[in-house]
């Protein structure tokens, strides 16, 4: 867990900087850091917030960014399913990407529940939460002295670029990314920032088509 500290802190710092520098004030940035607690979704929401997109579009986009957590939650269920519902939901809310990575290193068997796992997960959640919040709040406060005209808000966009590259694992992902980028730019004139949702739908549709065509295409190759 300790090995991830510096990377996590740097990432929190950048997110803090990006929030204030997107024009969100210090107060709202702190509120976002403390309650939303999901770096990628926070970054993705910033341009939408700044351009005055409707709430439901911002929420829907963030949910799409967070869909990986939906998949993760089915894995957490194996280990936390015995807890009372309120406690497993409260703990689940605090479990970020890094928590699952560390947890699965410590408990490699994904199909089995063992005693002590819930406590281990809670400890990990507390550690990641603390490091993240301290570094994010530092980023918010430090960058509030930097004038917006410096354009440091572009740090958020550059971070998302890196995240996007790291998700390009296979051909389907590449196609989805290209389709999404093209659709988001081409449909930019749509009202209410609907270009974002159109782009996501187009990319998901493209990946489903590829999944259907995939086995046949591989046989032919």
């Amino acid at each position: 867990m300790l090995a991830f500290g510096p990377g996590l802190a740097a990432w929190g710092l950048v997110t803090g900087v990006a929030m204030t520098q997107s024009g969100l004030g210090v107060g709202l940035s702190i509120l976002m850091s403390l309650t939303v607690y999901a770096g990628s979704a926070q970054l993705a929401s910033l341009p939408l917030l700044a351009s005055g997109a409707p709430m439901w579009v911002i929420w829907a986009s963030a949910f799409c960014v967070n869909l990986r957590f939906v998949i993760f939650s089915s894995q957490w269920r194996v280990h936390l399913g015995h807890l009372p519902r309120r406690r497993r939901l409260a703990l689940g809310y605090l479990l970020a990407d890094l928590n699952l990575v560390v947890f699965q290193k410590a408990w490699p068997d994904r199909a089995v529940h063992r005693t002590g796992q819930a406590r281990y997960a809670a400890g990990g959640a507390a550690a990641v939460w603390s490091v993240w919040q301290v570094s994010s709040l530092a980023g918010i406060l430090l960058s509030s002295f930097v004038p917006l005209s410096w354009g440091l808000g572009f740090a958020g966009t550059l971070s998302m670029l890196g995240i996007a590259y790291s998700l390009l694992n296979d051909r389907t992902a590449w196609v989805a990314a290209v389709v999404s980028a093209a659709a988001a730019v081409a449909a930019f004139a749509l009202p209410l920032k609907l270009n974002i949702l159109v782009a996501i739908a187009a990319a998901v549709a493209a990946s489903l088509v590829m999944a259907k065509a995939g086995p046949a295409a591989e046989r032919g190759a």
């Binding site: 509120l31 929401s45 949910f63 967070n66 809310y93 572009f154 966009t157 974002i196 782009a199």
Partner: protein
């Protein structure tokens, strides 16, 4: 990322943010609600896997390529060289922070120094 002018106010921002917090809770707790074993169909699972990438790209691409809804018309825009620098760095050493710093190292001088 433009100015904050279009926002109808602090309350609106706070409600949006608390909604985003609910989105976090909903997504992280999705399969923790029910005690029963719910399985996703394969096709749906595959769709869920590309959706986060698609959402991040959909937000990022216009931030890099568009100015006021139009494709960038001038090469005097710090964003393209910065994105290229970040991309080149990623190709050399994958990660998030390295490409970010490389991109900012190109972006800040061009933007602040030359006004691009």
């Amino acid at each position: 990322m433009s100015a904050w002018s279009t926002l109808p106010g602090w309350t609106h921002g706070a409600i949006t943010i608390l909604g985003l917090a609910a989105v976090t809770a909903l997504s992280r707790g999705f399969f923790l609600w029910s005690k029963r074993d719910l399985r996703l169909p394969d096709a749906l699972q595959r769709a869920l896997q590309v959706a986060p990438l698609a959402a991040i790209v959909a937000v990022t691409a216009p931030e890099i390529f568009l100015t006021h809804g139009e494709l960038i018309g001038s090469w005097r825009d710090a964003r393209l060289p910065a994105a290229l620098a970040a991309t080149a760095f990623y190709a050399w050493r994958p990660g998030v922070l390295g490409p970010l710093l490389a991109g900012l190292a190109v972006y800040m001088p061009l933007h602040i120094g030359l006004g691009w």
